[in-house]
Subunit: 324 residues, 2 copies
């Protein structure tokens, strides 16, 4: 009977080690404590136990799992697509907001706010097959580089969040992305970078049309059926695709307010967290006045709603993965 | 070292036993052989290996996982809802197709075909919160009984398909329902009956509106954003919610044609199967002339497309679970 005892003691040591070390990039502060306590509580038999099938955790993407400055990265992808497609669209030279993008004037291009961004997104994405779009995203994400840091965009992910995703998975959680970004912009790399498979990515979308091209079926992206997975769209997207209220929701902006509200107003234990960008040295510092990732109401109401505010400056020992 | 060897040999015996016994309700015919050979091929290292993350299997529901005669069961649910809500809708006494339902005249109620069914579905589902709707479905599915057999509708599921779902899961597949039925009609019981969690159910849907009621957030079903997950809507629903082309697709009607076409035209090994209702003794026999579950084009093209036709009469030793 020596072998089983040896195996058992090894297993116990491994478990203890894993618990201590699962979140090494998180400071030993209130945020880490809240996570570890919550996970311990819902995975232990007792009054707060949550069965594995109900352990749904939803994460915003832009500003929560990866950076979002100086602009949402998909906006930079759209700008690159406008430049790539410009020769086929001579009218864009005279037509705003496309003309501003082609002149390199980002500020004017975005003067129309989210509406302008949506218009450019649809103009560059609609008409492509899903296969061609996926290929285009794959090429861009493995070659394009962040304008400030010069690293690949996938190197702009947050190391503490990668550890949190792994920690939750180890404890039987199923993490989903629930993002205002395009679902088909995220899926081609979310599995490799975050370990989140395509079916666990919820995002904004446009229509799809099924047809035959050279007698091969294709799905073509269309300019109708526009779904914006932001603000009240997030609980809608969660219900539509997941069909179960999450027990954990983590975001970083007022666009995540309703997702946090919907999640944490469910019965039983729920965890809501907000990543606060307050580290101007290692990342960016912005909240109420920012057009990207504006955080105001959710910050004000966090205490009364029991939402934990994660300080990037104080709670994260490391921001990005060491090799990228 | 005796213990490990004993464990290993037990494991091998268990594996062999499981392989032999995993599909006991399937006759040793071409259909069972096709399933076992396909699963063996894609789960064995070699040229046809499919990584676990890509082992997506999609199943139609009505007529594939459970029966669909004399009417789609959700239509019978809608009729019951019309009767339950009639006192709040005095106008239905004079208004078709509602008036026919209230008179018990199913044939006239369905004279308008799918359009009439959609109208009745929206009229009875829209305006409810998702929580209230779920509760209503749960009550109905645990109390209402099939008009011919007198058993609960969940007793009308097909035993060979329950075995197939378990067999696929054991081999690392993730089974999804992709049905023309309402996604929120299936989710409340699909996990208990099929072992398929809500996030793996793709179906038709209407809109959702997020709002506060007595300062509690709710999602209310709305009469817009109608998505019909049937015919070309099935590949669309698959792409929207799963985001990856399946490797196995199983249906039973021409409504599944595009799902089978989309699945089996992908590169690498793919398995397409059609359940043929040809057992008038133990179930029902219908195909080309049926308004419910019409099977004509998919049957004609099955041989050239390499789709396997499952004969309920010959391939299934048992139709429904023994206790129900």
């Amino acid at each position: 009977m020596k072998l089983p005892i040896l195996l058992l003691s090894t297993a116990l040591v491994t478990l203890a080690h894993a618990a201590a070390d699962a979140l090494p990039s998180w400071a030993d502060s209130a945020s880490k404590k809240a996570i570890v306590e919550f996970v311990g509580k819902v995975t232990t038999q007792g009054p707060h136990f949550v069965p594995p099938a109900e352990r749904i955790a939803v994460f915003d993407n832009d500003g929560t799992l990866w950076a979002e400055q100086p602009l949402y990265f998909q906006a930079l992808f759209v700008f690159d697509r406008i430049k790539a497609l410009a020769s086929a669209h001579p009218e864009w030279k005279e037509k705003e907001p496309f003309a501003s993008v082609l002149r390199g004037d980002v500020k004017s291009a975005l003067a129309g706010g989210e509406h302008a961004l949506l218009e450019m997104t649809i103009a560059t994405h609609a008409g492509m097959t899903t296969d061609a779009f996926e290929q285009t995203v794959r090429e861009w994400i493995t070659t394009a580089r962040h304008p400030k840091t010069g690293v690949l965009y996938t190197g702009m992910v947050y190391q503490p969040m990668l550890e949190l995703l792994a920690y939750l998975r180890e404890h039987g959680f199923k993490p989903f992305i629930v993002s205002g970004g395009g679902v088909e912009f995220m899926r081609p790399w979310a599995e490799r970078v975050y370990g989140i498979p395509p079916e666990q990515v919820v995002g904004s979308s446009i229509g799809l049309s099924y047809r035959l091209e050279d007698s091969k079926p294709v799905l073509v992206k269309t300019a109708d059926a526009i779904f914006i997975d932001d603000k009240a769209g997030k609980p809608t997207g969660i219900q539509r695709q997941i069909g179960r209220r999450p027990v954990i929701a983590i975001g970083n902006s007022d666009g995540d307010f309703e997702m946090l509200e919907w999640t944490t107003s469910g019965a039983g234990p729920r965890l809501g967290m907000i990543v606060r960008h307050d580290d101007a040295t290692r990342e960016w510092a912005y909240d109420r006045e920012s057009t990207i990732g504006r955080l105001s109401r959710a910050l004000d109401e966090a205490p009364q709603r029991g939402w934990h505010v994660i300080s990037m400056q104080h709670d994260w020992l490391v921001i990005h993965p060491p090799t990228r």
